[in-house]
């Protein structure tokens, strides 16, 4: 299974651990803490690379038993079909239980309204909170990483949410040593971020080391796309392209996987995980800067979404 990775550090000594070993052990520790202290934990699983790594870690943490968690996916209705197929394949292979919360259901019932720009990314918060409440989930694992965004940089590993799912950055519990405080009142829940200390590069290096299967849209492929706000978006049921947005064919891949309306592709020739790693390491743009339209809205876009209960 896992080969011990030689550490290129002259100060390491015989008991050195690589940065991936340390991050892996830390994440496994977090999964086991939740298993030990919560009744109904759930893993947010979108089929994106961060959630794939989370699931892989959860499977390792409890082997040879199955992980004591089910999975939850908030489906915007605008997800990439390749990713949904991957999601269902993985769920079946490991015999896991998946709950899907549909944004479409709440649009149909009139509780949510489509936005003029067609993106459903901010609409995920209500079905997420509804699913958490309805299933009485008390711990919700998210793949958020602190290196992604400046509001996330201040997030705790165990992040207490009130009965409205809200995040108040000024009322966070101090988090010291490896002591994670998961105590919460009925109706409240805790968001847990086992990949808090991972970077995008760590995630890819770990995928390479563990030989984890990922959806094919992460690799370079030829795709019909159009340009909007400096990003390549894929046409789809969500409404793009607009009238003056010509569709062209480009060789692209996705650096992140989210709602099709606001997740951009990057031009790429990377066909293997190793080539992706080299490409990311040389990139001069952050993952969200390169691919997420929703974070370009304002300096505090993520902070505002998190306050309202977003992932």
């Amino acid at each position: 299974m896992t080969a011990a990775v030689p550490v290129t550090d002259e100060t390491g000594g015989p008991f050195a651990l690589s940065h991936l070993d340390v991050l892996e052990s830390e994440a496994v520790h977090i999964f086991r803490e939740v298993a030990g202290e919560f009744e109904r934990p759930v893993i947010l699983f979108s089929g994106g690379k961060d959630s794939i790594v989370m699931l892989h870690l959860a499977l390792k943490a409890f082997a040879p038993a199955p992980p004591p968690f089910s999975l939850l996916h908030v489906d915007t209705g605008h997800n990439f079909p390749e990713v949904l197929a991957y999601r269902d394949r993985v769920v079946a292979r490991h015999g896991l239980r998946l709950t899907v919360a549909l944004v479409q259901d709440l649009i149909d019932s009139g509780e949510l309204r489509e936005r003029p720009d067609g993106t459903r990314n901010p609409l995920q918060t209500v079905p997420l909170l509804r699913a958490i409440e309805g299933n009485r989930f008390d711990a919700v694992f998210g793949g958020g990483r602190r290196d992604e965004e400046k509001a996330r940089a201040k997030e705790r590993v165990f992040s207490l949410r009130d009965e409205f799912g809200g995040w108040d950055p000024r009322r966070q519990r101090p988090e010291l040593w490896q002591l994670y405080n998961g105590r919460h009142a009925p109706g409240e829940h805790v968001r847990v971020f086992p990949l808090s200390n991972w970077t995008e590069l760590d995630v890819w290096q770990y995928i390479a080391r563990e030989k984890i299967e990922i959806p094919e849209i992460y690799f370079a492929h030829r795709r019909e796309v159009f340009r909007r706000d400096g990003m390549w978006l894929a046409p789809g049921d969500w409404g793009g392209p607009g009238e003056h947005e010509p569709v062209v064919a480009r060789r692209v891949r996705y650096r992140t996987v989210g709602d099709m309306s606001c997740t951009g592709a990057v031009e790429s020739e990377a066909e293997t995980v190793e080539q992706i790693i080299v490409e990311i390491a040389a990139s001069r743009l952050t993952e969200r800067g390169a691919t997420r339209a929703d974070d370009k809205l304002s300096e505090a876009a993520m902070e505002d979404r998190k306050r309202e209960g977003y992932f």
Binding site: T11, G13, H19, F62, K150, A151, L176, N197, V278, A281
Partner: protein, 452 residues
Amino acid sequence: MTAAETADTAAISATSLLRFATAGSVDDGKSTLVGRLLHDSKSVLSDQLAAVELASRNRGQAAPDLALLTDGLRAEREQGITIDVAYRYFATPRRRFILADTPGHVQYTRNMVTGASTAELAIILVDARNGVVEQTRRHAAVAALLRVPQVVLAVNKMDLVGYEEPVFARIAAEFGRYATSLGVRDVTAIPISALAGDNVVTPSATMDWYGGPTVLEHLETVPVAHDPSAEPARFPVQYVIRPQSPEHPDFRGYAGQLASGVLRVGDRVTVQPSGLTSTVTAIDALGQSVDLAWAPQSVTVSLADDLDISRGDLLAPADATAPTSQDVTATVCHLHDRPLLPGARVLVKHTTRTVKAIVREIPSRLTLDDLSPHPEPGRLAANDIGRVVLRTAEPLALDDYAVSRTTGSFLLLDPADGATLTAGMAGEAFADAAAGPGTDAGPGAADDGWDF
């Protein structure tokens, strides 16, 4: 080396990880130093830099203000302050870094305590014009109290004192004396100008009298961890894995992360606090069967005997167990806005175990600026450091914090609303009072003037 080549090297090699914290007073230029480290190590990407340039222009500043790279929340930008610990990530071909960036305000001691709790190194900044001030002593005391193994004194704004060696030498000597008195043995002083970039990433062209490493060179080469074979093994059980499946009908594994030391197959272990003993028959290191494992690896341990072991128990070598007691004396930092009072009923969260306890006494409070003790303070307010005596409802297998930062630390929680109240470190406060195994008594070791 170009950025792309640097990145390639970093991408291909597995490296070690260093966690460090920074502390400085409000105007010591800490954010500029952190911004400079991130920028000059090419860890800031062009969209982040563009955002900083835009924000600087909006504020009427001509040059991009690198301090803005580390600003997080809207409230902080509006008030020009940092209200919380922010974590930063960067890498060089030699090492990966996790930086806990902690604010310097007096009222935010708890943030520095939080950042220092996981740090293997602390950078303390001083302004070369002001030298060692009250805040500096406070930061040094927190680093010493939390037993951060390495301390760097960054003497900043050398450009404003004419890059003069005597200024640096005087400050370094004064800080060195104070750090030694706190039991901190490993201090590296570096003269820098974060604004101009001297000795942060690249060696200074104007301070040829300094022959030591730059801040980044030091971070890249300082030894990361101490030798786990010199410590007793400590394995807090997190979870019992029992598949009860047709393939694994009888499997029973104890899942946990080694808090310290080395555990080997064949080791005779004691289950604490029950005192039962057994032998390690197998160690599974996340899918790989191994003969030994060491801190901080997460593993699953199998034992020869079917014992009643559950979450909260500690496995320790039968010949080197942790002391167990219901009476705990510790140094604490109070974190919550509600004060801690004698007689308070609390929960103690220690490794994987949470037990009820009562605060029997608060014998003293410590002023960190000058380490003066205040006996019988009656209460501890937020950001206070003090001594407490607890009585727990069940025994805890609690090492001195000097022996293990993991099995010697705990939190006090409010049983009513679950709030995190207080951070605790078992045993004596500073290294001179209780030297752990493997530590040699430094020159200031006999100087125990802080019996508070």
